[in-house]
Amino acid sequence: MNIFRQYSLPNCTLILEGFDDGTGNALQTLAVLSNAECRFVTSRQSLNGGKVFFDHLVRAVSEYAQGLLSGIHHPVDAVQENGQMLIEAMPHHQGHRLLWQQSGAEVADNATNEVYLTTAEIFDLTEAIDQFLADGLTLPNFVLPLAPLSRRYCVPEESLAERVTPPLIGVSGFALTAFALFFAPIPDRVRPVEGDVNGSNNPTEQTTNGTVPPGAEASGADLDALVTKVSEIDDTLSLMMMQSYLYRTLDGAWTERPEGQMAAYRLSMTPEGSIVGYQPIDGTSPDIVNETPLPELSYASVDEAIANGKPVGQFKVVFKDKVLQVSPWHGFEGEVEFDNSQVRGDALRQLIRNTRVAITTALGTESVDTSQPLRYSVGVTDDGAIAFYISETSLAETSVNKTPLPKLIKPDAAGIVPGQSLIPTKPLTQVNVVFRPNGVVEVSPWAGYR
């Protein structure tokens, strides 16, 4: 005998037809389903089918309802052999489409297998199915546990490409910056050029080199002895004169300049211009001395210098990367002052005038090409000869060849003769000379007109 079960909802009626399994329960149990029908009363559509259809219907509708609730599409199981139930939302909120395709021998042509449903109808169908599932007297073994959708099936809203883009841009930007900074030059370590103020102990090199003139390379002990026994020259002018002589000499002698050389020495020099001795400092190895011009210069012996008792000048000489640096060991103290002449009044004015004329005549029609004023202190003898010049600024020093000063000086007029004396022996007037950018040459006495 057929058993009917009907679940009525406002929009949908689910009718199940089947029969008992004959176990003889008191209550009739629809144990075997023969036909299932969904009637949508408002839209006058219906779906019809057997057990296979019903199986698929229940699963598909339940999953679809969960999908509607969460907004994430629940995928339908892969096409099974006996048929496929497809439910999908129509575009533009037009409702939902349910499509049933049964494969196999029994294809019922007359049963409609496609319906268009509103949301309310879908809900009523879901509710009817839920009521069926809850009904213990109808297909009690048919269970459908609810479960959330696994992450595997969840397609993220943004595609993988979109989600990966921002971190990828960040990492590649970082990589590019690192690459670009790789080419930034490493700043050179600048070794301090000025000598130590307190003359700290230098590492002494005891090994001697055969090619060095005997006695020239004084040991540290010898040089120290020299300094203690003989006073040091500390007059700025003297140091400047000696430094400039030393620089010129070494610069001229240093004809072969190797790459990347670094050698530093402490030198003692007499006021006549003889080097008493030199000693490597700052870890300079003794072998490098052959690549410097030091071995080729003339030397006085240390003992003679001590015996003489005359003061000596101490200098620090650095040969570095084809550049020669010479500086007094203790640096310069105070400004240059050497005005010891007695010329006064009209004679002084005349002297200045003559000096100016000499300079401008030597300049001729050219003007000194400079954007900043170039300042020099010039030593003038009582006879009007320009003995030497001292650059007041480093720009003046580097631009001195644009001026006529180097051609004009006559050091011997003041008694400056290398080998005899580097320091002037005659009285000198200190004169300021300034070459202005507009071509004007200013000549004035350092001590003023007296």
Partner: protein, 212 residues
């Protein structure tokens, strides 16, 4: 009978038997492992559904508290303030508390949603029918008085409570059309909550995509 779906006999919108709280909460199994934070999307969903319920009927929050009392959820939701605090776990809120719902709190809120939705079944059906008819004739949704009232209230609530600095919220706020769509979507979800196992369906749907 399966274990994960259990059902109240004779469900009908008018009658609601008050089962005791442990039973109700036990109906909604814990899905996430201990200590894992409640998913943000789920917190958004719950709050939006409650917002829709408020927009459907005036005095919504009072009715929610009444539901809580009837369902004996007062240990979890004692008063209006605690209800508001739980709803502020929604990251979209202006007054977002940066806290997460505990599973029990979430279950309580879901039960309230289900209970309120069941009480409004008739209204929900009416509005959905109106919406479907208007759409099939390509008419704007404001033509139906009750529906447009709901949409307007929903938009107002949304604008006043949600943090406009968030991009999503800003996009919604800028488009009246989008907010309307959101409101209708929530109506559709609410009607699914009125079913026999509506609360369970809602509960499981909250974790879609959150489990491995």
């Amino acid at each position: 009978m399966n274990d994960s779906v259990s059902v109240m006999p004779n469900p009908s919108p008018s009658q609601s038997s008050p089962p005791n709280q442990p039973y109700l909460l036990a109906n909604l199994p814990d899905i996430l492992p201990e200590g894992k934070a409640f998913p943000r999307r789920a917190q958004q969903q719950i709050d939006l559904l409650l917002l829709a319920l408020e927009a459907l009927e005036l005095g919504g929050s009072e009715l929610m508290l009444a539901s809580a009392k009837r369902l004996e959820l007062t240990p979890i939701i004692a008063n209006r303030v605690s209800l508001w605090r739980l709803r502020c776990c929604n990251p979209w809120r202006r007054s977002h508390t940066h806290r997460n719902l505990t599973p029990d709190q979430a279950k309580a809120l879901v039960l309230i949603v289900g209970d309120r939705a069941k009480q409004l079944t008739a209204l929900l059906r009416q509005l959905l029918l109106a919406e479907q008819q208007l759409r099939s004739r390509n008419l704007p949704l404001d033509n139906h008085f009750r529906l447009s009232e709901y949409l307007e209230r929903f938009r107002a609530h949304f604008k006043s409570r949600m943090n406009n600095r968030r991009v999503r919220v800003m996009l919604y706020n800028e488009s009246r059309q989008e907010l309307n769509e959101l409101a209708v979507e929530l109506l559709q979800k609410l009607i699914f909550c009125t079913g026999t196992v509506g609360t369970q369906r809602l509960w499981f749907s909250l974790f879609d995509g959150e489990v491995s």
